[in-house]
Amino acid sequence: MKRVTLVLAAHSLSRIRVMVFALGLLLAAFQFLLTQVAQFLLRRSAFGQLSAMMPDFVRSAAGPSALAFMSFGGIVGFGYFHPIVLAALVSLGIAIATEPSAEVEGRFVDLTLARPLTRSNLMTRTVIVFVVSSTFVLGAMLAGTWIGLTCCTPADAPRPPARLILSLAANLAALMVCWSGVALALAASARRRAVAGSAAGTAALAAYLLDYLGRAWEPARGVSVVSPFHYFEPAALVGGQPLGAWNMIVLVGTGVLATVIAYVVFSQRDI
């Protein structure tokens, strides 16, 4: 890897370090709190009551995963697929991936690309920044869960297996890779960050709603396979199923393909 790429990556990471650190801390605290919520519900024997309160149509629509969710492990794992957590992580990925268009818009790219570095160095820089930032945030979330389960949970609590938590984190990471790749491809051709960011964000929201519709309404199920969220199945994982290799291939593959497109588009465009 070229030294200039690392210089650029260090520069970008230093610019977003506060945001990434704050998000990591916040989500780690959220994961920790969820372990305490699960413990609280366990002490009150409230999981059974919660399941009983669930309407029949929700129970039948969600299947066995609904019952799995109303468990100690389900509550602990909830932080890996809560819509706000999803929104925060996908937004982080989009924010990082749209840096090339921000540099075109702000014209800093004129100064960097007038120096002996290639356009692919800028793309690789963005990929590095994404990998480091998302690894840190997901690592912080895992740390929050681990601390909550090891230090502040009774020994007899039915802790979820580490494999489940890691699978949830891996599925979430794959989703981030997917949307960051899409955002990078959009940013590679955009002159304004707002255009690339809002296009990627709108696409993510539309895909999320499409998947939601597909899960709740049979006629929309066929169309919802085009949504990346269709391949993000935390409820199935909580229900005891293994992490689907196909789901991971689709999500990571989409992200990688979009990233390759971004490299090509950015190398060809006028700055």
């Binding site: 210089v7 702000g106 014209r107 800093f108 004129d110 690309l113 007038a114 002996p116 006028d270 700055i271």
Partner: protein, 305 residues
Amino acid sequence: MPDRGELPVRLEGIGKQYGRVTALESVSLQVEHGEVFGFLGLNGAGKSTTIRILLDLVRPTAGRAFIFGADTRRDGLDVRSRIGYLPGELGLYGDMTGADTLELLARLSGRTDVSQRRRELLDRMGLSGADLGRRIREYSTGMKRKLGIVQAFQADPPLLILDEPTEGLDPLMQDAFYELLTDVRRRGHTVFMSSHVLPEVERVCDRIGLLRRGRLVLVSSVDGVRHLAARRVRIDFRGTVAPPPTWPAGCEAVDVQPGAWTLRVQGPLGPLVAAVGSLPVADVDVSEPHLEEVLRRYYSDETAS
């Protein structure tokens, strides 16, 4: 690696289309070693597009560009390692300090040994250590411009490409900048600069190229351009002198009074001197033409057409 003897800048039939809009059309140009070349034209004439093609920021739709003999597209890394660039519109991060910005840009140039040159440039441009410690969002337009000049010159590249370099600089700093240009030229470096400021071009440039609507309509030495312009000659007579029925070749009357004629003379003054030799001439005043006069004519042709 291109030969050191290769021309610093060579454009061969460069064209650039944006959809149906022609930004540049068949621009061919050469810039010699050690010269300061002024690239002129009205807004939208294609100056910045040409500069961006040299830096491979914009891809031409026709022709090729070479820096020191290396193709700007194929050998971009080698080309850009020999260029210092000052953009017309500086995009700096407001939350970075001046010092951090200069350090980052030096590292991206692959140069870490620029501190002595940088100090010298900062002194010349009047930027103090305290200034460099401030965030760029607190800088005035002129200070940003000075920082831009320092970042372009700090790696001491053999070719400097400067887009409107004195925009926003006060007159004192403009002088400091002109001295800097004189120094780099003395050391054999080449400068390719665009400018709107014609007296500045006249002062610092050896040659100029004039773009009009994407076409290069004039390439000449500054002296050569001056010769394209008519000189203004005022002749005072002792007493009343009637004007001749026909003026000598190249002369055109501007204002004719019984005791004084004001003429515009294109070309040598010999025929006029011969014509008035027998007359009671009291005084002759010849005003040398300015570059501005010629260029204004080109510009006004453009706006009229």
